[in-house]
Amino acid sequence: MRRDLPIILLLAWLLAPSWAAGGPVQDLIDRARPGETVIVPAGHHREHLKIDKPITLDGHDAATIDGGGEGIVIEITAPDVTIRNLRITGSGSTVSGEPCAIRALAGPVVIEHNTIDDCLFGIDLRESPGAIVRDNTIIGKDLEEARRGDAIRLWWCHESTVERNRVRRARDLVFWYSEGLTIRENRVEDSRYGLHFMYSHHTVLSRNDLRRNAVGIYLMYSNDITLEHNTMIANRGASGYGIGLKDCDNIIVRDNAMLANRVGIYIDNSPSSVDATGLLEGNTIADNGTGILATPNTHDNVFTHNALIENEEQAAAHGRGTLHLNSFSRDGVGNFWSDYPAFDGDNDGIGDLPYEPRSLFHSLLSAEPNLRIFLHSPAQQAIEFTARVVPELRPEPVLVDPAPLVDPPAMPEGPRDGRRAPMLALGSALILVAGGLGGVLTHGQIRTPTYRRDAQ
């Protein structure tokens, strides 16, 4: 046992009454009248707060509320509470009880301009409709992914707005049973699911930026959602989808960029209802392991005006299936495929031949995913070559785009490094290495030695 345990126990006993009685900030809250603004004095306050009346708590960017590593730091039980300009830290870290920085059990509330760190859950809104969560920065506890909590969770919070939040190292931003939300311009990095929808319908998600998460946007059992102008980069975790759709009806995915994810967009049985559809339009899907991945039963999605560029595998269906139940053109306009050998005799911008990818290696991959370890090796080329030479071996095309676009749409700029110097320096360094080696190893051998002088 630790030797200092008695001291800790003593301290705990001494401090416990002060919690029960509430600290200085809690005193301010208790004394405030509804509608008033409580200014939290600048400095570090080791307290747990309970707010049970409609007030505004403002830290003026100088106050910290520290839960000391236990429980919920701020609990709101009344509607019309605003919390702003605070730093909130030190919630509990055991999953039981879901300790968090801010929990609201009533709504609406406004949570804005706060910085939250070292908390298991960040902002947890339960039945707080009309909530506004904006401009918060949330950095999760330094735990492995499975033990982290959600950065923002909305549970039965219709008509809420979540915007311009920045999240790092959390589990999810998750929305349960909430409709009519506005989710925009959030940035989520290094978390599990960047934006996660469960049974939440009728929402627009726009201009969110999701990087290096397990999944960028994951919609499950949620219908009538529009995803617009979102950017999903390098989401390569266990699932690794830029966008994942599971059993969702009437989803519109428009003008998003899915770049360098393991899978650009993953469609699992969406739409799931009869008569429902899905539309993917104008998206840029580039540099992913697989551009479009779908379960074989996926149907009635329309893909048009998308650009599929240099994905290791442009499109695939699980388990040797195909994507033939979906259409890859609308009104005679298909998609741009970077591996399409464009041939456009009539110059109308639409290729004269349909795009039909038939890769034997990729068809083997869908049968035996373990073979992916042989990607980027000459053996892969050998297999493709064989399939080209022996047509009997060519697999069925996984999809047919009857009207592929010839010209690529405009691409978003990647993180370019326009400087020439480092690469030039590298090139020159290589030449120097070669020259130096050559110099050392040919020393005295370039010129044929002659001995005429000595002979005389």
Binding site: G444, Q445, T448, P449, T450, Y451, R452, D454, A455
Partner: protein
């Protein structure tokens, strides 16, 4: 200088060298014997090029344990001259000079000694047989080693070239070098060697002098016999039994004979019902300096 103790070398089932021991201090020693007698293999074992049973020492240095050091004391001229044909003469000798850690000046001196200076930019493959042989000799003399080992040094040369080589070797001997060479030319041996080891099937059968081998050395001629039908090794064996010095190299049988009895081997062979088709008297190496 050169010391061999029961050197044995087997290639599979055949024993090429079978327990050869000898010791040689100064002067020139020749290995005499027909092809396959084990001369070349013995030389390679002595230099540590081949792993073998027994032990060899050069100037007291164990060849197997300290081969590098031992070989630094030996200049070697192989039987078949093989150079990197693309290389130029100057580059070739410079390479061997650096291998033997010899200065450029010494390399130049060695080249001048065989009067190849001035040919440095010639490609090795364009050199004549004689020039190649001289190059090999120059390489062997790099760093002025006390021991020089030659494996049939004149086999590819015309009479003039041969004369030149023998002359050079004789002057080296006079400088006090120890020379070990294999040869199948009695005239060469007579003019150069102080001692002859006669090898047969990998063993030393006689350890003698040229005069012991050919008592009338001044009267000895080498003739080449071309036979009808009969295999040469068989005929060689018969002649050896009769006391002739024989060497068979695939294109006729070379026999050393007294000057006035050139036909004697023919009659010996006739007794064994072997017919001689043609006889050639090989030109003579001037042996008058042999005793000097």
């Amino acid at each position: 200088m050169i010391e061999a103790r029961s050197i044995t070398k087997r290639f599979g089932r055949t024993t090429a060298v079978d327990g050869i021991s000898f010791c040689h201090e100064r002067g020139a020693i020749a290995l005499w014997g027909s092809n396959g007698a084990g001369k070349t293999t013995l030389i390679r074992c002595l230099l540590g090029i081949l792993r073998c049973g027994g032990s060899a020492r050069i100037c007291g240095i164990d060849v197997r344990r300290r081969g590098r050091l031992a070989r630094a004391l030996v200049g070697y001229v192989p039987q078949e001259l093989a150079f990197h044909d693309d290389a130029r003469l100057g580059r070739a000798i410079a390479f061997f000079a650096s291998l033997r850690r010899v200065s450029h000046e010494d390399a130049a001196r060695a080249l001048a000694l065989v009067s190849l200076n001035g040919h440095e930019t010639k490609r090795v493959r364009d050199l004549s047989g004689g020039m190649k042989q001289r190059l090999a000799l120059a390489i062997a003399m790099l760093g002025d080693p006390p021991v020089i080992v030659l494996d049939e040094p004149t086999s590819n040369l015309d009479s003039e070239g041969r004369h030149e080589v023998v002359h050079t070797l004789r002057s080296l001997k006079q400088q006090g070098k120890t020379i070990l060479f294999a040869s199948h030319r009695p005239d060469e041996i007579i003019s150069l060697a102080d001692r002859v080891l006669v090898l047969e099937r990998g063993r030393i059968v006689r350890d003698t002098t040229p005069i012991g081998l050919w008592p009338h050395e001044r009267a000895v001629k080498t003739i080449r016999l071309h036979l009808v039908g009969t295999p040469e090794p068989e005929a060689a064996r018969i002649l050896l039994r009769e006391g002739f010095a024989v060497h068979c190299n695939g294109s006729g049988l070379c026999v050393a004979v007294p000057r006035d009895r050139k036909a004697s081997p023919i009659s010996v062979l006739a007794r064994h019902e072997i017919e001689v088709r043609d006889l050639e008297v090989l030109e003579e190496v001037d042996t008058s300096e042999a005793s000097s």
